[in-house]
């Protein structure tokens, strides 16, 4: 294996890992704060990509404003979904919120096929060109995407550590009862966390939509990757999601280039299985009841 080939695969791995991390951190945030599995997370990712598509490719408005618009729209959608559908189920068996989000998948993905059609669409990129990094070609587009993803992850980390809402979120995820006794408005934290997690997925959707192409059924793959990552890293753990995303990004990049996409896929699941056998709650997870 040549050195430049190796660098190419590493760069792709980091790139993929950062994008996967954006989706997975949203999922893990929602689980950490609310203890619900948002099975329709990938569907919000898909809707996020479509917001950018209509903003940028159809209406021709500025690209980066479109990414922000997409995040805002999906934030609101997530918050509304939490208030309408998930709040009444708070504290009940994990199966009920799971069933509701499964219902959401049916509604959003089939509704998407009705509204957007099943034709694959692309978001043209306004960044062109590239440069050589250690003998490997790296496009500016991918570089921007990696930088934006990394910035968002760091931003989220600072948000969770330094701001009042972020600290409240961590408190709620540690112990909802005690934190509500401390005067934290738990239900407000819940919808903010849900919206925030969804918005992260939407931004990831915008990035992936630019890099690849968009269809209403793309949500399932995103949910799947996010699931794989949070199982590896441990539910509710943000560093776990980041590390899980990197592992999966590298498996996908190296596996696909060296062997084949199918083998990379099965390898990803094998990695999960091995991790779960030794650490039943993932790398950084706690055992939730």
């Amino acid at each position: 294996m040549a050195f430049d080939e190796f660098t190419q695969m590493t760069l792709t791995g980091i790139n993929l890992g950062l994008m996967y991390a954006l989706i997975a951190i949203g999922l893990t945030l929602i689980f950490g704060v609310m203890r619900i599995i948002q099975y329709a997370h990938g569907e919000l990712f898909m809707l996020g990509a479509y917001v950018l598509y209509y903003w940028f490719a159809v209406l021709g408005w500025p690209y980066w404003l479109g990414v922000i618009a997409s995040a805002v729209v999906i934030f609101c959608l997530g918050a509304v979904l939490q208030l309408l559908l998930f709040r009444p189920l708070q504290g009940r068996n994990i199966l009920y919120p799971l069933a509701v989000s499964m219902g959401l998948i049916f509604i959003i993905s089939s509704g998407g096929l009705l509204v957007f059609g099943s034709v694959v669409k692309g978001i043209p990129s306004d960044i062109s060109g590239g440069t050589m990094v250690f003998g490997a070609f790296y496009t500016y587009e991918r570089m921007t995407i990696s930088a934006v993803s990394a910035a968002l992850i760091v931003g989220l980390w600072i948000f969770l550590q330094k701001t009042t809402i972020g600290m409240a979120m961590r408190a709620v995820s540690e112990d909802p009862e005690v934190s509500s006794l401390q005067g934290i408005n738990t239900s407000r934290i819940h919808w903010i966390a849900f919206g925030l997690g969804s918005a992260l997925a939407a931004v990831a959707g915008c990035m992936m939509g630019t890099l690849l192409s968009i269809v209403p059924t793309m949500g399932f793959v995103a949910t799947m990757k996010a699931f794989m990552i949070v199982i590896m890293g441990g539910l509710g753990s943000v560093p776990g999601a980041l590390i899980g995303a990197m592992i999966l990004g590298f498996i996908d990049s190296f596996g696909t280039t060296l062997i084949s996409a199918d083998v990379a896929y099965i390898m990803g699941f094998l990695a999960i299985f091995i991790i779960l056998v030794f650490r039943p709650a993932g790398l950084f997870g706690q055992q939730w009841e």
């Binding site: 069933a99 509701v100 499964m102 509604i107 009705l114 199918d262 039943p280």
Partner: protein, 323 residues
């Protein structure tokens, strides 16, 4: 869990009699018989998934194990010429064996992690079928898995006929439901519910939780494998897409809509939703949207599912009487 009352026993008997008379009642209509067969498969899947739920967890690998049963019998038929009568049992055995092997490491995970890990296993099973093209036929699947013939002295039945296959599916579906009902009503079933309530407590009073979990998972997967074998010989064509996560999702929807507390729940949910699904088939995507709306509505406004309706009516009547 409570002792069945006479009206419920009557309801079960009436349902069974109706199911046996269905071909005559519908005038041997092929489409209605096809729906009946689909209902039987869906009931078998949903009730066997419910058996795992009585221990308190949900397995999303269920459709995958149905696939193992289906692929085993299909391969035995196309490569060795063994009919459904043998393939069915070997398919169920293969599903049970793989479930047994996987369940020991799988049972180390709990609650949410179990759900996600089983989901991953279901996905791997599907991908393995798709990846090994030479053996499993890849995404194209396996064709010409023909239904069997029964040759007994003085009796010859060709199961290529829909009516014959309807009865075959009905018999096996009833046996699976009966077996699960018996398990649930036995001492073992009580132990399962105690694990459901509190795993820790069950462990402390001397119940071997791991053993019960492994056995229940294996038995449930065996039933799924059996259903898969019957499915393969009925449709005569299988591919990895059939045993997708979607299939598990639909079974879970059937359970949730029907009800989670008794075996009647999944039976009712699978029956009603399959009929509604067939009625909505011409509407295309709206059918799936409707499904989603139904699930959300049931979870939010009818927690406990359809099976709690009689109890709700009784309570409402009592309240009206008291006023």
């Amino acid at each position: 869990m409570s002792q069945e009352s006479t009206p419920i026993k009557l309801l079960w008997s009436a349902g069974l009699v109706l199911a046996f008379l269905l071909p005559v009642l519908c005038g041997y209509d092929k489409y209605i018989l096809h729906t009946g067969i689909s209902i039987a498969f869906n009931i078998a899947l949903a009730t066997s998934m419910w058996l795992i739920w009585t221990l308190g967890f949900i397995s999303f690998a269920h459709a995958g194990f149905m696939g193992i049963g289906a692929y085993t019998t299909a391969l035995l038929f196309t490569k060795l010429g063994l009919s459904l009568w043998i393939g069915m049992w070997l398919g169920a055995a293969a599903a049970a064996l793989i479930a047994l092997m996987i369940s020991v490491p799988l049972m180390r995970t709990r609650a949410v992690y179990f759900f996600m890990a089983s989901w991953a296993i279901g996905e791997v099973i599907k991908r393995v079928f798709a990846y090994y093209r030479d053996f499993f036929g890849g995404w194209n699947g396996i064709f010409n898995v023909l239904p069997p013939k029964l040759e007994l002295p003085g009796l010859s039945i060709d199961f290529a006929s829909r009516v014959a296959y309807y009865y075959l599916a009905l018999v096996f579906c009833s046996l699976i439901v009966l077996a699960i009902y018996r398990i649930n009503r036995s001492r073992t079933g009580t132990i399962y519910w105690s694990i459901h309530e509190s795993e820790l407590l069950a462990q402390h009073i001397g119940i071997n939780v791991l053993k019960h979990k492994v056995v229940a998972f294996t038995v449930a997967c065996m039933f799924a494998g059996l259903t898969g074998a019957l499915y393969a010989h009925y449709h005569t064509y299988i591919n990895p897409k059939t045993f997708d996560i979607w299939q598990s999702e639909f079974s879970l929807v059937h359970i949730i809509v029907g009800g989670l507390n008794t075996v009647g729940g999944p039976v009712m949910g699978a029956t009603i939703l399959t009929i509604v699904d067939e009625l909505l088939r011409p509407t295309g995507y709206y059918r799936v949207i409707f499904f989603g709306v139904v699930v959300i509505m049931v979870v939010l406004f009818l927690p406990g599912g359809l099976e709690t309706i009689p109890e709700r009516i009784r309570r409402l009547a009592a309240r009206v009487r008291n006023n």
